[in-house]
Symmetry: C2
Subunit: 238 residues, 2 copies
């Protein structure tokens, strides 16, 4: 009889199974992976990876959220990625020995599962489809960055704010009777450094959207979107 091993820090689920790149694998194969997993936790504000350091493992977020960000010489932060359950990073360094080109910082308590580079390489050798899955993920990341650049280069601030809110709604929104409740993963300042503007501008822009009735701001950490279609419409037609 087949036994699925469990990862205690992962709410008794097989964390590897939740990762897209391992999703196509059999339970037996997943067990093989689970044995290789190293677990670790980080508190809010803690750096999981620091720009410039060598990273020798694939890191899978099991719970919590984290940001991937760069800092310019004068201290300005640019958030490039948002990570949550099932997301992973470090895949770039599986092949190369490049140093991390940005930092990963926990936005709240984060539990991760890690697999060492050497183990992952062996895994890819044994299961070539993992390599293809990773390639697919890289491709998706590329496409998101391409869209971000287009937005930063050609769209108004309002549209970029809406874009960020829609992304949050897709990732972290919960459908309610008559709308979507969204737990914002970032503060106003965070949203600002995600879309490349200032905190104050995000604030003003979100308030304008609220006054227009497109969103409802609830405290600092939530918004309620009654008609997400209207918001999407504004995003794609402006």
């Amino acid at each position: 009889m087949q036994v699925t091993r469990q990862c205690e820090h992962c709410q008794h689920k097989l964390c590897a199974k939740r990762v897209p790149i391992f999703s196509a694998m059999s339970t037996e194969e997943i067990n093989e992976i689970t044995d290789l997993i190293i677990r670790k936790s980080y508190v809010k504000g803690e750096a999981i990876v620091t720009e410039g350091e060598t990273i020798d493992r694939l890191v899978i977020i099991n719970s919590g959220k984290a940001k991937g960000c760069k800092y310019s010489i004068d201290g300005k932060e640019q958030i490039l990625y948002l990570y949550s359950d099932g997301d992973f990073f470090g895949e770039r360094n599986l092949l190369t020995n490049l140093k991390a080109s940005y930092s990963i910082v926990a936005l709240e308590t984060v539990h991760v599962c890690m697999i060492l580079k050497a183990d992952i390489r062996q895994l890819i050798k044994n299961h070539p489809e993992i390599g293809l899955k990773i390639m697919e993920e890289l491709t998706m990341k590329l496409e998101r960055l391409e869209n971000t650049i287009e937005q930063m280069g050609t769209r108004t601030v309002e549209i970029r704010v809406i874009g960020a809110l829609l992304e949050f709604a897709d990732k972290f929104g919960r459908e309610k009777e008559a709308g979507t409740m969204v737990a914002l993963p970032l503060s106003r300042e965070g949203i600002a450094s995600y879309i490349g503007v200032t905190r104050e501008t995000v604030s003003r822009s979100m308030n304008a959207l609220d006054e227009e009735g497109l969103i409802q701001i609830i405290g600092n950490k939530k918004i309620y979107i009654e008609n997400i279609g209207a918001l999407r419409n504004r995003f794609s037609k402006t």
Copy 2:
């Protein structure tokens, strides 16, 4: 005796050999690839790929330059990539059936070599290292886009202009006795849509750099950089 087959449109060189992803292969293996190649040419302004269409092949630039760009609803262009000899695209669609998310347009006469998706997949199956090479290329593209986003989000226009000029110098510059002559791959307008500003702003910014003595503008299509170190210095310390 081993014969290396020649690709007539490729100035009698083996174009596949010039592509990073095939660079590690033996002559025999390259011959295998060369047989699969389809050749085609495009004139300036012609679309090699149009956003939204299905792309079923890997396209390798053999000579000439091309831009990869998106267009917003109101017609604004955002240039994402610059392609020249040895660059390739279409790799994203090797695995997926996604439609092209941006267009590729010839900036001058372009000769390309193409390999059909099915052939490439077979090749990857036979030579797994090609897959790894593609992954490496994807990784490099990611890193460039990440840097672009950071620049767009946190740097001044002048720095972004310098960044573009330095990139052109690295790719298209020729070392002279006392400096670097750079053939600009893009017009002022092109540079503008590469860094997300207007033509006029690029013009003013480049003229300011000229007046400062950091570059010398030679007509519309060339610049001369006497002290590229000074330019790099300005880029990285501001």
